[in-house]
Symmetry: C2
Subunit: 451 residues, 2 copies
C-alpha cells in the first residue's frame, strides 16, 4: 500500500476522471479542478466526435472495476460500411469474430465517469481556473482571472489532465530543454446529426461504422443509444470544396446533394447543424519530458494529442493511466521512479500512435474507396485468416490488442513493404487467393524476419 | 514613399536594431522596447558565441548604409584551422581567394547597432517589459510584473524581434492553427576565453576559425580585435564526457589536458571560465504563420531559431530585414501584402537553414577530422575549381552568396548523392584528382540535371 498523498488533478475530462478513480482507490486524497462548468449540468457543445472504445480502453476500465458500467453506454460496431456513390453499400469486417469497437458519446461517458469518481470519494472543483503552478513545490494557483487575486493550494503531486492546450504543460514548456511541437492539419471538422426514425430505431445499420469517403474529404457516422447517429464531416478549411467555400444555404444544399445523396432525407437537419455547430481544428501535439521530479506529471492529451483518425485518442489516454497504475504497484512510494519509468516507457508509444493516426487521416479519406486498396486489404485478411499466428493486421494490433503502439508501427511498416511487393505481382487481382501469393508472402516474411 | 506609421519593435538585439534603422530611414516613427537593461551599460554575460558575419549579413548592412562602420569591428577568417591531437595543424580554405567569414563579438556589435539606430532617431525603451499584446489592434501592454499595473500603447504595427523565447510569438501561439515546434539538442555550450599575449597579439593564427573536433564534442575559437579569442566548448549535457561529469577542478584539468593539450598554457583561464560561465542550451524553433494581418510580424530568432553550427543565425535574421525592405519597396503601403509575401517567401528558407545548421552540428564535431571526409572535401574543391560554373560547394552557396537557403539545401543534397557514389570508386584516394573522377562527376551531374 502506498503512503497517502494529497493529489490534485487539473482537468475533469475522461482521462482526468479515470485517473481520479484509480488514485482514490489506492487510498489517496484526490481533488479535481476544472475551469469549465460541471459537464453534467450543461448542454453538449456540438463539437464532439463520437468515441470508439477499443481494447486498451476496456482494459483500463476493467482494472479499476468500472468496465461493466460503461459497457451499458456503448454500441458494438464490428465493421465499416462504405458509402460510395453509384456503388452498393460495401462492408469491411474490423477483425475476427467477436471483435468490435464501441461507439460511445463523449458527453455521456464523461458525465458517468465523474459520477463514478464522486461515488468513490473524489472531490471536484468546477469553474475554478488554474493560472499558475510552481513545479518544484506542487503548488497551484487559481482565481477568477489571470490578473485577479489568486488562491494558493499546496499538494504533494499535481497531474495535468487538461488536454491539448494544457496549462500545466504550458508552465513546463517554459523550462529550458523542454521539447514541444504542435502541428495542425489543414482539414477541420464539424459535428452533424442524423436523427432516429419516429419509432426510435436507427436509420442506418447500427452495428457499422459508416464512412462516406470522398477523396479530399469524408463524412463518418457512429450510432447512439437513442437511435440517432453522430456524424462528423471532415473537410479542408480552404480550397475548392471546403468549409470556406460553403457560405450560403444554397451552397450547403448543393454540397450535400452532390456528395451525400443517400442521406438527403435528413438534409434539413444536416443544414441546421452545419450552420449552428462550430468548425474545429485538429492538432498533433508532442512534448518531452512529461514529468517534473516526483511532483508533476502530464497524462492523456496534455502529453500527446493526436488527430482522431485511428479512434485511439481516448484509448491511448486511458492506457497512460493503466501503465501508471502498474508502475505504482511495482515501485510503491518511489514516485520519482514511477514518473521516470512512465514517461520513458510511454513516450515511444505515444509518438507511434500519433504517426499511425496521421497516416490513417490520409488513408481513410483518399484510399478506402480505392479498388487497389480494397484488394490489398482482402489479400491481407485472407492471409491473416490462414496464418493468424504470423500475421496480425496493423489495425487489429492497434485496436484489439494491448501490444505497444511502437511495436504495431514497426511491424506494420514491415507488412506494408511486403504488401507493396505483392501488389506488383502479375494478375494479382485474379490470383489474390492463390497458393502462389500465399507462398510469396510466407517467403517474404521469412526473409524480413532474418534482417 | 510609404505613409508614416507608428511602429513598435519588441527586442533591441541585433535584428531588432537593424530593423529599427531600416524603418526609421523609411520615415516611420520607431520605438524599440526591451525588458533588459541597455546592453551598452552592462558587462557581457559570458554566454555568447562569437558571430560569423558572412555575405547575407553584409548585404543587409550595405543596403542601409552601415556596412563600413561594422567592418571596423570584424576580423576576416578565410579558413578553418583543425587541431587534431598528434597531427600537425591542418588548414581548410573556406572558399575562393578573397572569400572570408568575419569574426565579431555579439556584445560589441549590438552596442554599435543601438548607437547607430539612436543616431538615426529611433527611440529605445529599455527595462520596459512587454507582457501582453492584442494582435488585431497592435496594442502592447508593459509593466513591472505580469500581475502588476500595465501601461497600454497603441501602435500601427508591432514587430516581434524578441528572440527564440519571444513573448510576441507566445501570444500568436495561442491561436488555433498556429504550428510550432521547439527541439533542444542534447549538447550544451560554454564560453571560454584565451587571453592575448602580453604584447596584445593573438596566441593563435587570427585569420583562422579554430576547431578542435573530438567526436562527441568540440571546441572552437574565434579571434577578437583585442588579441583574445572567444572559445566555445560544445559538450553533451549528460554522459561519459559531459558537463555533468566535470564537477571538480581536478576533473576539469584532466579534461582539458587530455583533449586540448595544445592550449594547456591557458589552463588557469579556461578553468576559471569553465566554472564561472553558465552552460547554455541550443534549440531549433520553427513556427507558422509569422504574421497577423497587417498588424504584427515576427523577425529573426522569434520566427526561426536555429542551432549555431552553420554560423547563419544572425545572417538569416538580417536577411529577413533585407527581404522585408525589398517588399516594402515593391508594395509600398500594402502592409498586408508585404507581410504575406514576407512569410511565404521566407519560411522555406528558414526551414532550410535550420536543417543545414542541424546537419553541420553532426558534421563539425564528428567528421571534420575524418580522413574520408577530408578526401571528399578535397575532391569537391578540386572539381569546383575546375568547373566553378556548375559546382558551387554547399558551404559557399550558404555563406558567400545571396542564393536562397532552400535552393542551397536542394542542390547540396544532389551534390551529396553524387559524392556518395564518387567515394565508392575504386582507389578513389589515389585517383581523386584524375580525369576519370572528373568525368564521372560530370556525367552524374548531367544525369541528375535531367531528372
Amino acid at each position: 500500500m502506498q503512503k497517502e498523498k494529497n493529489i490534485a488533478i487539473i482537468g475533469s475530462g475522461l482521462v482526468g476522471s479515470l485517473l481520479a478513480i484509480y488514485l482514490k482507490k489506492r487510498g489517496h486524497s484526490v481533488t479535481v479542478f476544472d475551469r469549465r462548468q460541471d459537464v453534467r449540468t450543461v448542454e453538449f457543445s456540438g463539437r464532439s466526435i463520437n468515441l470508439a472504445m477499443s481494447n486498451r480502453g476496456w482494459s483500463s476500465l476493467r482494472k479499476v472495476g468500472i468496465e461493466e458500467e460503461i459497457r451499458k453506454l456503448a454500441l458494438p460496431l464490428d465493421k465499416r460500411a462504405l458509402h460510395v456513390n453509384n456503388t452498393p453499400l460495401y462492408f469491411q469486417k474490423y477483425g475476427k469474430e467477436g471483435e468490435a469497437i464501441y461507439s460511445i458519446s463523449r458527453g455521456i461517458l464523461n458525465r458517468k465517469m465523474i459520477d463514478l469518481a464522486e461515488e468513490a470519494g473524489v472531490v471536484f472543483k468546477f469553474e475554478e481556473k488554474v493560472w499558475d503552478i510552481k513545479l518544484p513545490e506542487a503548488k497551484i494557483y487559481t482565481g477568477e482571472s489571470e490578473k485577479g487575486v489568486w488562491q494558493e493550494y499546496q499538494f504533494d503531486i499535481v497531474f495535468g489532465a487538461d488536454g491539448a492546450f494544457s496549462r500545466v504543460r504550458h508552465k513546463m514548456q517554459r523550462q529550458s530543454r523542454f521539447n514541444y511541437s504542435q502541428n495542425f492539419i489543414d482539414v477541420g471538422y464539424k459535428e452533424l446529426t442524423i436523427p432516429a426514425n419516429e419509432d426510435g430505431s436507427h436509420k442506418l445499420d447500427p452495428t457499422s461504422f459508416h464512412i462516406w469517403p470522398r477523396g479530399e474529404f469524408m463524412l463518418i457516422a457512429m450510432p447512439n443509444l437513442n437511435g440517432s447517429f453522430t456524424c462528423t464531416l471532415f473537410l479542408p478549411f480552404e480550397g475548392e470544396v471546403s468549409f470556406e467555400s460553403i457560405k450560403s444555404e444554397e451552397q450547403a444544399e448543393q454540397f450535400f446533394s452532390t456528395y451525400f445523396p443517400d442521406i438527403m432525407q435528413d438534409i434539413s437537419n444536416l443544414m441546421r447543424d452545419f450552420f449552428k455547430n462550430p468548425t474545429s481544428a485538429m492538432v498533433t501535439m508532442k512534448c518531452f519530458p512529461w514529468t517534473y521530479w516526483d511532483k508533476v506529471a502530464l497524462v492523456g492529451d496534455s502529453a500527446h494529442a493526436i488527430v482522431p483518425f485511428y479512434g485511439q485518442g481516448m484509448n491511448a489516454g486511458f492506457e497512460d493511466i493503466l501503465v501508471l497504475d502498474n508502475l505504482i504497484e511495482e515501485y510503491e512510494d518511489d514516485w520519482e521512479r514511477i514518473f521516470k519509468e512512465y514517461q520513458s516507457s510511454r513516450k515511444p508509444n505515444a509518438d507511434a500512435i500519433a504517426e499511425l493516426s496521421y497516416r490513417n487521416f490520409i488513408e481513410m479519406s483518399s484510399k478506402t474507396a480505392n479498388p487497389a486498396f480494397i484488394l490489398r486489404k482482402k489479400i491481407e485478411k485472407h492471409f491473416a485468416e490462414k496464418h493468424p499466428d504470423i500475421w496480425v493486421p496493423l489495425y487489429s494490433r492497434v485496436t484489439f490488442s494491448d501490444k505497444p503502439y511502437a511495436e504495431a508501427l514497426a511491424i506494420g511498416d514491415r507488412q506494408r513493404a511486403i504488401m507493396d511487393e505483392v501488389m506488383k505481382l502479375q494478375n494479382v487481382d485474379k490470383i489474390w487467393d492463390s497458393l502462389e501469393v500465399e507462398n510469396y508472402i510466407l517467403e517474404a516474411l521469412n526473409k524480413t524476419a532474418k534482417v
